[in-house]
Symmetry: C2
Subunit: 87 residues, 2 copies
């Protein structure tokens, strides 16, 4: 199998699996299960993966990790927005 | 920067960020926030990333995704063990 297609399928699956948490947080506005510290560590790690993908010129890595950065930055924004609205 | 070291740091950060959920589930034995379907999709995607890493001969991808497979398979096992013990 073409490894780029393999990587795109892999990235598609891991991207799909990351969506329910964001959808749930947006729907319920409940952020008490989120840890801003872990989200920051995760976004840092994912950003480094994007950088790694750019250095290696690998499209599946760039695409899937960029998507994950957007999802987890959104969670981080939700955390700070909804945390304050709860009090 | 050496891209392999960059990838290993990226993988280390995303691996650290995946641990708290597993630790929390093991401590609280509460699995109602887990979705077995999403865990299955995630483990499938992560396994394909390991395969991709092997095809591309990239150690950081193989290591970090293998670790993530172990973490999420553990979550899946916890889900089925603790779900039954709750009833």
């Amino acid at each position: 199998m073409n490894t780029e297609i393999l990587g795109l399928i892999a990235g598609g699956l891991t991207s799909i699996a990351s969506m329910p948490q964001l959808i749930k947080v947006i729907k319920t506005k409940n952020v008490e299960d989120l840890s801003w510290l872990m989200l920051m560590i995760l976004v840092s790690g994912l950003s480094l993966w994007v950088w790694y993908g750019i250095e290696q010129q690998e499209l599946p890595i760039i695409l899937s990790n960029s998507f994950a950065v957007v999802v987890n930055l959104s969670l981080l924004i939700c955390y700070f927005v909804f945390r304050n609205s709860e009090k």
